[in-house]
């Protein structure tokens, strides 16, 4: 859950990139780190706790400060989870305190079962953490659109976004930085709207 520090006028929020193994979660963070335009000192180091073969072992972490929000410094902490099925306990640890989620799906046809399984696993883990999945904003990113065996977007929408309330979805080719910032800005928008609505709905002191 986000933290508001009135003393320093800071809002800290945690965004987790979730999805199947090798889907491009870490690539999203690398591209944000490499290409984001920030004032000096507003971008932290990208920390990767990875195996020797560059597979995420625990999480990747990128602290970053938004640049155009007046009044409050809004600090984003971007995390990825390890995608492999065996690391579920680790995924639960990283999800703790999450404010918003980017679900990175792999567009290749043969990855559809993994996409669906990972999405269900995300919902199960949120429930296990006693978090109401309906109250956690999330967006979908259909990554690897440049591959020849990419499934049609409509099919992925049918598989992953076929609910009463549809969430925003984006096509992406993360390694070329296409769709990466569009996705990040959308989850940012959903989060800020949520918190403003919460604060306006809260009773004010007498």
């Amino acid at each position: 859950m986000a933290i508001i520090n009135q003393a320093t006028k800071e809002l800290q929020v945690k965004v987790v990139y979730y999805g199947p193994a090798m889907g491009g979660k870490t690539t999203n963070l690398v591209q944000v780190h490499d290409h984001v335009q920030t004032a000096q000192g507003n971008k932290g180091k990208l920390v990767s706790l990875a195996t020797s073969s560059d597979r995420t072992l625990f999480f990747d972490f990128l602290p970053i400060e938004a640049m155009t929000i007046k009044g409050f410094k809004t600090k984003f902490q971007l995390y990825t989870v390890p995608g492999q099925v065996i690391y579920n306990t680790t995924r639960q640890l990283v999800l703790r305190g999450v404010d918003g989620i980017v679900f990175v799906a792999d567009s290749q046809y043969e990855k559809m079962p993994e996409n669906v399984e990972s999405f269900q696993n995300m919902m199960d883990n949120l429930n296990a953490l006693k978090m109401n999945a309906a109250e956690i904003p999330y967006v979908l990113q259909y990554n690897k659109r440049d591959l020849p065996n990419a499934a049609p977007v409509e099919y992925m929408e049918f598989l992953l976004n076929n609910r009463e309330t549809q969430v925003p979805s984006f096509t992406a080719t993360a390694h070329k930085c296409e769709g990466v910032f569009e996705t990040l800005n959308m989850i940012t928008r959903l989060l800020l709207h949520k918190y403003i609505n919460q604060s306006q709905g809260a009773p004010q002191p007498a």
């Binding site: 859950m1 933290i3 508001i4 520090n5 640049m67 999450v98 109250e135 403003i196 009773p203």
Partner: protein, 158 residues
């Protein structure tokens, strides 16, 4: 809907005073209060040489991983972790259900452990005060300009 945890100036001043006292008592280098989700809440002591935001995220991950191990060996509580180094050591201690105290120190761990108990009680008390405060008090998120969020994060021109 859950209310936002929020800290006002009084909370931060109290927490900082507790940390300053703690550092004076122990001769530790830096003390941080962090949220178990990885957020840095506040800190005192040396900050220029350390990336405290990242230390907070990693310390919370390490602590929570140890808590999970505790569960696997049927131990109800690993309340702290200690990493001994040559120049600096690290001590991470549970404060309450939501937060942790992280201490970076070059002194003897016994001193740190001894004074930690009193410090975490004071920190926990103040965080409880913050949590019980009327929701919405002091919040003015209307200052946030979200008319156009598509440029919150911009891709740098190459």
């Amino acid at each position: 809907m859950a209310t936002l945890p929020q800290l006002i100036e009084e909370d931060i001043q109290t927490l900082n005073a507790v940390l300053r006292d703690f550092l004076a008592q122990t001769d530790a280098t830096t003390a941080l209060v962090i949220d178990k989700g990885g957020f840095l809440i506040t800190h005192e002591g040396e900050a220029n040489d350390f990336d405290l935001t990242t230390i907070g995220a990693l310390a919370s991950g390490a602590f929570m991983a140890n808590q999970t191990i505790a569960g696997l060996v049927n131990e109800p509580n690993f309340s702290s972790i200690h990493q001994q180094g040559e120049n600096f050591s690290l001590f991470v201690c549970n404060v309450d259900s939501e937060s942790l105290l992280v201490v970076i120190f070059g002194c003897h761990v016994g001193v740190v452990k001894y004074f930690t108990a009193a410090a975490i009680k004071k920190i926990a008390d103040q965080l409880e005060v913050a949590r019980k405060r009327a929701p919405g008090q002091g919040v003015d998120l209307s200052q946030l300009n979200i008319a156009n969020t598509k440029d919150v994060f911009r891709k740098r021109e190459e």
